[in-house]
């Protein structure tokens, strides 16, 4: 059936879009999106905060159509929504905070390659259909099913561009290390989604210094700044490391765990520089970290509680000494296996 411009305008008028045009979710397109699933379209996958909206398969498929997804993308989206709705992920807080964050979606394993996802040049940027439409579909589900609409239940003061779409896969071909799902105990031939409550990426350059310490010291210093939610909550810290950085580190004989340990040891902030900065003055009795009250002003406070709370993913093109730091919040990431 032919779609006209007026159909796209209708979707805008009904408040269904993220501001960009969407594919109108006609019954034919939604049925096609659901063709590969045997489950009842009315079956409920999960409830999405903040309004506890009922995420039925059919509604999820309608949002997937609007975002530009293909039917083979649907299992990824469904698994990502289930993971997002898990109580441990604190999606309610992520969607309703005045802070500027949203779930970042990483797809790992062979399915990412089958779907032709991009973990190479411009991995976190525009240009790849699966990355763009999967990230966008997730965001549209939060908006349309969960009710997290800007100015309504999504009150983010500034927001960030990843709220349109924030999805990538790792560069498994050029990475010297295992993909994240293997590191987290899944079989190499399994595929997973991982969601992380994410600020916009801060891209750090460290060029021309072919040793791990030089690279990681710069990353540690750029990460250890007051005013981020990590500096206050000491939650998980997520990195997107270019293949060049990862290979310099690996070729010097360092494992990924060695790199995490270095960041734990060096990404530290002086206690006296934290006590009246960032979120500290704002904290209530529950949130105020007891370790800060106990610390001496010159104590160096690690940015994460333990080295394994640093997550390193490897993505991006073959050339360029960059690592993007993605600050998070209190909750950490969640990984779930995709069932096809």
């Amino acid at each position: 059936m032919e779609t006209r411009v007026s159909d796209i305008e209708t979707c805008h008028e009904r408040g269904w879009t993220d501001g960009l045009p969407v594919v109108p979710p006609t019954p034919e397109l939604v049925s096609a999106m659901l063709a590969s699933t045997r489950d009842d379209p009315a079956s409920v996958v999960c409830h999405l905060p903040p309004a506890s909206g009922e995420a039925s398969l059919e509604r999820i498929a309608a949002n997937a159509v609007m975002a530009g997804c293909l039917p083979e993308h649907l299992p990824v989206l469904v698994t990502a929504l289930r993971a997002a709705a898990d109580d441990t992920f604190h999606l309610y807080d992520i969607l309703t905070t005045v802070h500027s964050m949203c779930p970042l979606l990483l797809v790992s394993g062979p399915l990412a390659r089958e779907l032709d996802m991009n973990g190479g040049v411009n991995a976190l940027g525009q240009g790849n259909r699966a990355n763009a439409s999967l990230g966008r579909a997730l965001s549209l589900c939060f908006r349309n099913i969960g009710g997290a609409r800007p100015g309504g239940l999504d009150p983010a003061t500034i927001g960030h561009p990843g709220k349109y779409s924030y999805c990538y896969t790792e560069n498994s071909e050029l990475s010297p290390w295992s993909e994240l799902h293997v590191e987290r105990g899944h079989a190499a031939d399994a595929s997973t989604v991982t969601l992380y409550p994410a600020d916009a990426p801060l891209c750090v350059a460290e060029m021309g210094n072919a040793d791990p310490e030089h690279i990681l010291r710069t990353v540690a210093e750029c990460a250890a700044i007051p005013g981020t939610y990590n500096a206050f909550f000491r939650g998980e810290l997520w990195l997107v490391m270019s293949p060049e950085h990862a290979n310099v580190i690996a070729h010097a004989g360092w494992s990924k765990d060695d790199a995490k340990q270095y960041l734990f040891d060096h990404a530290r902030i002086r206690a006296g520089d934290l006590s009246d900065r960032g979120l500290y003055a704002f904290a209530d009795d529950v949130l105020r970290p007891p370790w800060l009250d106990e610390a001496e002003p010159d104590d160096m406070i690690p940015l994460v509680e333990t080295a394994d709370r640093v997550t390193i993913t490897v993505a991006g093109g073959p050339y360029g000494g960059y690592t993007s730091i993605v600050f998070g919040e209190l909750a950490g990431s969640i990984t779930r296996e995709i069932e096809i």
């Binding site: 059936m1 159909d7 209708t10 979707c11 269904w16 109108p24 979710p25 006609t26 019954p27 939604v30 309004a51 506890s52 909206g53 009922e54 995420a55 059919e58 509604r59 498929a61 309608a62 949002n63 159509v65 609007m66 309610y92 807080d93 005045v98 549209l140 349309n144 099913i145 969960g146 009710g147 003055a281 704002f282 209530d284 009795d285 529950v286 949130l287 209190l330």
Partner: protein, 90 residues
């Protein structure tokens, strides 16, 4: 053209406001502090004014503004009060 709605229509509907109280005289009012900065100050002023208007006032406090109120606290307020004022945000 027909579309499949991407909305949960229920989540789209705003909750209707409760009927406005006709009088404060003898009303049992819960003042809920969500533990956000300066909420207490606001509620102190409100409490003084409500008391002078003849209301009974009790103060409640969420452990942290960063999480929904505990179920027990909501139950307690629902049991004890017939009006609630929440000092939301800063």
């Amino acid at each position: 053209m027909d579309y499949v709605s991407p909305f949960d229509e229920q989540s789209r509907e705003a909750e209707p406001l409760a009927p406005r109280a006709s009088s404060l005289d003898g009303a049992r009012i819960a003042l809920l502090d969500i533990s956000k900065r300066r909420g207490e100050e606001f509620l102190d002023h409100l409490e003084a004014r409500l008391r002078s208007a003849g209301a009974q006032v009790r103060r409640y406090r969420k452990p942290t503004f960063a999480r929904p109120a505990p179920h027990d606290l909501i139950e307690e307020i629902a049991r004890d009060a017939n009006l609630v004022v929440e000092a939301l945000a800063d």
